[in-house]
Amino acid sequence: MTKLFPDHDDRLLVDAVKSGNKDSFALLVAKYRESVIRICRGYVGSYEDAEDLAQEVFVELFRSISKFRGDSRFSTWLYRLAVNKSLNYLRYHKKRFRVYRSSESAGEESLINSPGEAESDAPVVESDHRRALREALDKLPENQRTAFILNKYEELPYNDVAAVMATTLSTVESLIFRARQNLQKYLSDYYEKNIRG
């Protein structure tokens, strides 16, 4: 399991950014970009969208870094920002996704795999797996989904997931338990509806 990064160096970098050192900010971006892209990808699916969203997370981070008082670890704070940004993105695009889904039966290309992404050339069966997972994740309630994504995409242990979500360990255990139950059902339903002969 990936642990949240040690905080000492981050605080030095954050202090330097607060006093106007942009090179220190670039170091923070370099250190955390992969984690932030992974978290965003758990929500949006497409790699390109996740990368664009991650850039916005870092710009937002720069804008609001003066508000970081050090009450929590820096990485906790940043991951929470990535979660919020991703949820805002999904809420904003919900209508668009819904419109798209209603036209899916017409055989149009999926927004789940953005054009040009490697998967679009993959065998149909691989696209089915991807689509099944994406649809299943999309159906989860936000808090189950967040707990699952932080644990599975970023491989944060439960206590770190609890820190990012500002909740207790037992709540996270329960959220992930329910997320797994639901995903099992949704993936099974997908199999019955689309794969089983």
Binding site: K22, F25, A26, V29, A30, R33, E34, I37, R38, R41, Y47, E48, E51, D52, A54, Q55, E56, F58, V59, E60, F62, R63, S64, R80, N84, K85, L87, N88, Y89, Y92, H93, V125, E126, H129, R130, A132, L133, A136, P141, N143, Q144, T146, K152, Y153, E155, V164, M165, A166, T167, T171, R180, Q181, L183, Q184, L187, S188, Y190, Y191, I195, R196
Partner: protein
């Protein structure tokens, strides 16, 4: 173990958290039931997508793009837009070369060429509402 029990235990089985007895029962059923076997295999591959998606190779422009975003009042030029900009610049160069080599002909024919302006799609940007507040209720 019947089909219904199998369906209920797929995630535990795939995560290796079923006890020894449960695992043996599950595997005996999967050996005999092609439908459950195919269902388990489909779900396993679905979950494998997560491992694929965890592999991240940020674009070499990523940090540069963020740094220009913070210089320009939060307007992030997405990597896709950057690609469009580079492609547009290349197109402009090609058009300029073409126009240069055909200047005489264009001048004599009295035609004006109009530049085409490409508008990249606007990137969604919205200030964060507030930090994530967990709602335990669903």
């Amino acid at each position: 173990m019947n089909c219904k029990d199998t369906h209920r235990n797929i995630f535990d089985y795939l995560d290796g958290v079923l006890d020894e007895h449960g695992t043996t029962e599950m595997e005996s059923h999967l050996a005999l039931c092609s439908d459950c076997s195919s269902r388990v295999s489909f779900i396993r591959s679905g979950l494998d997508v997560i491992s694929v998606d965890r592999r991240v190779e940020p674009d070499s422009e990523f940090i540069g793009s963020v740094m220009s975003g913070i210089q320009s009042a939060g307007r992030v030029i997405s990597l896709r837009e950057r690609f469009i900009s580079v492609a547009s610049a290349a197109a402009i160069v090609l058009v300029a070369v073409f126009a240069g080599t055909n200047l005489g002909r264009l001048a004599t024919s009295g035609q004006n060429s109009e530049g085409t302006v490409l508008y990249a799609e606007d990137v969604y940007f919205e200030p964060i509402e507030s930090f994530f507040l967990l709602n335990d209720q669903e």
